[in-house]
């Protein structure tokens, strides 16, 4: 019954979404009068109702999981009675159908938020924004109801479920997809604001000011979601990698890059009334890339470790949806954007021009990632064969594009609006610049490497970190209140610098040892020693594991006991590696258990890593998220 209730709620929700999408927008096209006001005023209540219905539907699915209702096909495919309760709940989004329901739920939550926090906006604007979001909801709800219904029954019911993929039985699953989807879906808000502005013919600084906090919060979630995904891969997959340029990862990076460009472009539109058309285009692009990502991941068009099971019918639907949403918005853009007025003028060297350069660079970087991701598809579609584009390509093309972006972050923050002088800017920044070069040189000397990449990475990371610190210190010395947005900007920039230093550090100085170990064997990666003390057989709720106790010493003194495991889940043939990590401020020690090398299982292959600066990667991401939060919390957005 619960499943049917959930299904019914979804159908009603779709009808409400349709009304939410059509009626307020119709109102905005009508002539002024009581009808117009009434139609537009329907936006908020419709949004609230839709949110309630979708939440009900989601709750129904969650109940089916938590009560082990294996008569629901989706539950039988992704759950098991022995699965721990938190994972039973997270398994709701462990597969294609449920994750789409999560998408729609979060979209309705964002719409609810827009309804609640838009008191200072004109009703017309609110009607348009909520209307557009309603139409997007309709598309997704229709998709779920026609091709991806999570409430389908399995008759006769299974006695027990197939269990959740062991790789997903991890806290990472509980938090990564929701955070990531909050980001993806949040881009719909920026998109809706852009389309609303185009529809109303009102592209101005006010629109930019309304749009900006929503965009920043969505960006914040996206940053967090991507970071979580990386961190999860790092500790879960057992060999310490954190980014593979997999199509699904790229699908999340592209909206992030464009959203970053969008936030910076919105600044100019808000302050100087400039770049209006470009900003609107970026807002459309960010959400379009979110949708494109959804297509790439669920249509079977690209192979990926991440891809959901694909079905050509689903691919066709999403493609049509993509065509409609992006096609109409870009047509609207071509029609309305030319009317946008120009903002204030600016010189060759000015904050505007730096931000414009930032936009160009980030868009080119996004294009490079997009090109690399779909090139195999293009070549295949042209019948020119099959090729692969992997990490070597992306590292060679994408990373160099980031160099100017990182470099310009500091002068861009220093330069004045309208007109700045390069000599003045550089003079102001002479200390960060000089110190950055010294530190980079020092890093090369300390590590004994001659790598250009290491030098650039350390230099740029230090440059941004020191430059940002200097700006903050200088500002603190001046009188006057400092707004949250100031802190947000600089904390986020500083976070980026920390990320860059982390990536450079671990990439340049990581040490890996693949060894065969018996009890009492040790591995030395100075100044640490890893001693294998014992093996144990450890039972789990739905698996059996072999656990190794590896004692870590530093210069002879005890540090920690790491316990990597090799698990055999009852439901799956493949053994799972659970790596053990000791995290410090400056390094991670990472141990992963391999395979037994003899019949008696006394000798095992093991992987031991010394990963310096990797914690900075995660710390930097958290700083960026904090920066976003601070920026969005600025008082001027709450008036």
């Amino acid at each position: 019954m619960t499943a049917e209730l959930g299904h019914f709620a979804l159908i009603v929700g779709m009808v409400v979404a349709l009304l939410q999408g059509v009626l307020p927008l119709w109102g905005t096209f009508s002539r002024a009068g009581a009808t117009r006001q009434a139609l537009m005023a329907l936006a908020r209540p419709a949004a609230y109702l839709q949110c309630a219905l979708v939440t009900l539907s989601f709750a129904a699915l969650a109940t089916a999981f938590l009560s082990n209702d294996f008569s629901v096909a989706y539950v039988a495919q992704h759950s098991n009675s022995m699965l721990p309760k938190p994972y039973q709940f997270a398994a709701v989004w462990g597969g294609h159908e449920g994750s789409l329901l999560l998408w729609v739920l979060l979209l309705s939550v964002w719409t609810l938020a827009v309804g609640l926090f838009s008191r200072s906006l004109p009703l017309e604007m609110v009607a348009r924004v909520i209307g557009v979001m309603g139409l997007v909801s309709v598309g997704f709800l229709l998709f779920i109801l026609t091709t991806s219904n999570p409430f389908e029954r399995l008759l006769p019911a299974a006695s027990d479920g197939r269990d959740l993929n062991p790789l997903l039985q991890d806290p990472g699953l509980v938090i990564h997809p929701p955070m990531l989807y909050m980001g993806y879906v949040g881009m719909a808000v920026a998109f809706a604001f852009a389309v609303a502005a185009l529809l109303g013919g009102r592209l101005d600084a006010a629109w930019a000011r309304w749009s900006r906090p929503w965009t920043v919060i969505a960006w914040m979630f996206l940053t967090f979601g991507i970071g979580l995904g990386s961190w999860w891969a790092y500790y879960e997959l057992g060999w310490g990698g954190w980014w593979f340029w997999d199509p699904v990862e790229n699908a999340s990076l592209m909206p992030w890059l464009v959203a970053t460009a969008l936030i910076h472009s919105l600044m100019v539109t808000e302050k100087r009334g400039g770049f209006k058309a470009w900003t609107v285009l970026l807002a459309i692009a960010a959400f379009s890339l979110s949708l494109l990502g959804t297509f790439l991941v669920r249509s079977g068009v690209l192979t990926s470790v991440h891809a959901f099971a694909s079905d050509p019918k689903r691919g066709v639907f999403i493609l049509i949806f993509l065509a409609v949403v992006v096609g109409t918005s870009l047509t609207l853009f071509a029609w309305r954007a030319p009317r946008a007025t120009l903002g204030g003028s600016f010189a060759w060297i000015s904050r505007e021009s730096f931000l414009l350069a930032n936009s160009v660079l980030l868009v080119v970087a996004t294009a490079a990632v997009l090109l690399g991701t779909i090139y195999p598809l293009i070549i295949d579609a042209l019948n020119l064969g099959k090729l692969s584009v992997g990490p070597p390509y992306f590292n060679a093309v994408f990373v160099p594009l980031l160099v100017p972006v990182l470099f310009l972050m500091v002068p861009g923050s220093v330069a004045r609006w309208r007109e700045a002088h390069m000599s003045e800017v550089l003079h102001k920044l002479r200390w960060p610049g000089a110190l950055a070069l010294v530190i980079a040189g020092g890093a090369l000397a300390w590590g004994g490497s001659h790598s250009v990449g290491t030098f650039l990475g350390v230099a740029l990371g230090s440059w941004v970190a020191l430059g940002t610190a200097q700006l903050v210190i200088e500002r603190l010395r001046k009188p006057g209140r400092i707004g949250a947005s100031f802190w947000g900007q600089h904390v986020a920039h500083f976070g980026m610098a920390v990320v860059v230093l982390g990536i450079t550090g671990v990439g340049s100085y990581q040490v890996e040892r693949d060894v065969r170990m018996r009890v009492d064997d040790q591995v030395t990666i100075a100044p640490y020693t890893f001693i294998l003390r014992r093996f144990d057989e450890v039972p789990g709720p739905n698996y059996k594991a072999v656990r190794a106790d590896v004692e870590v010493q530093r210069d002879g003194r005890f540090v920690e006991v790491l316990q990597p495991e090799k698990r055999r889940y009852f439901s799956s043939a493949m053994p799972m590696t659970e790596a053990a990590i000791d995290s410090g401020w400056l390094r991670d020690l990472y141990v992963s258990l391999g395979e037994p090398l003899d019949d008696a299982r006394t000798e095992w292959s093991m992987r031991v890593y010394y990963k310096p600066f990797v914690p900075w990667l995660w710390a930097g991401v958290l700083l960026m998220v904090l920066g976003g939060l601070l920026a969005a919390a600025d008082r001027r957005y709450r008036r």
Binding site: V305, L342, G343, V360, L361, Y375, V523
Partner: protein, 162 residues
């Protein structure tokens, strides 16, 4: 003291020393440094370097270096053999490409088919910068900065002050 008792005392002393020595050895037994998993770390390092740029053909997008698939094991064994035989990276890659096609390379070869891929972003960057320059130039011609009148200046001062 008789020769026998000296001898016995001497034996006891030796046994004591030997006994102490043995137990000392057992007590302070240093753990053995683990042997590398690979037979030849130099060859293995090169294998990892090469196979990180090769694709595992039976996986959902994994490199040959990290895959646990059976075919990946077999291919790594082949590549190891080729490395030991002194083949260059290019020769090893063409060995695999001639049997499995371009699909096996994660770094696409730079050839006319992939010129757009390799040079496209760079060209796009140049185009972007050129458009940026033209845009700024055109704007400066169109929008001349408007000078503030005295009244406006006074209002601005008031607003800034309080």
């Amino acid at each position: 003291m008789s020769a026998a008792s000296v001898f016995i005392r001497w034996c006891r002393a030796c046994l004591l020393c030997v006994g102490l020595g043995c137990s000392w050895g057992a007590w302070a037994q240093t753990p053995r440094e683990a042997a590398p998993l690979a037979e030849d770390p130099v060859v293995e390092a090169r294998l990892i370097e090469i196979s990180q740029e090769l694709r595992c053909l039976v996986c959902q997008n994994e490199s040959l270096a990290s895959s646990h698939a059976e075919l990946a094991d077999d291919l790594r064994r082949e590549v190891r053999g080729l490395i030991r035989a002194g083949k260059s990276d290019t020769e090893i890659k063409s060995f695999l490409v001639s049997r499995y096609g371009d699909f096996v390379l994660y770094r696409p070869e730079v050839k006319p088919l992939t010129w757009v891929l390799w040079f496209g972003p760079f060209v796009l960057l140049l185009v972007g910068l050129w458009v940026l320059v033209r845009y700024v130039r055109a704007r400066k011609a169109q929008v001349a900065p408007v000078a503030l009148s005295d009244e406006q200046r006074r209002r601005a001062q008031d607003l800034l002050r309080g």
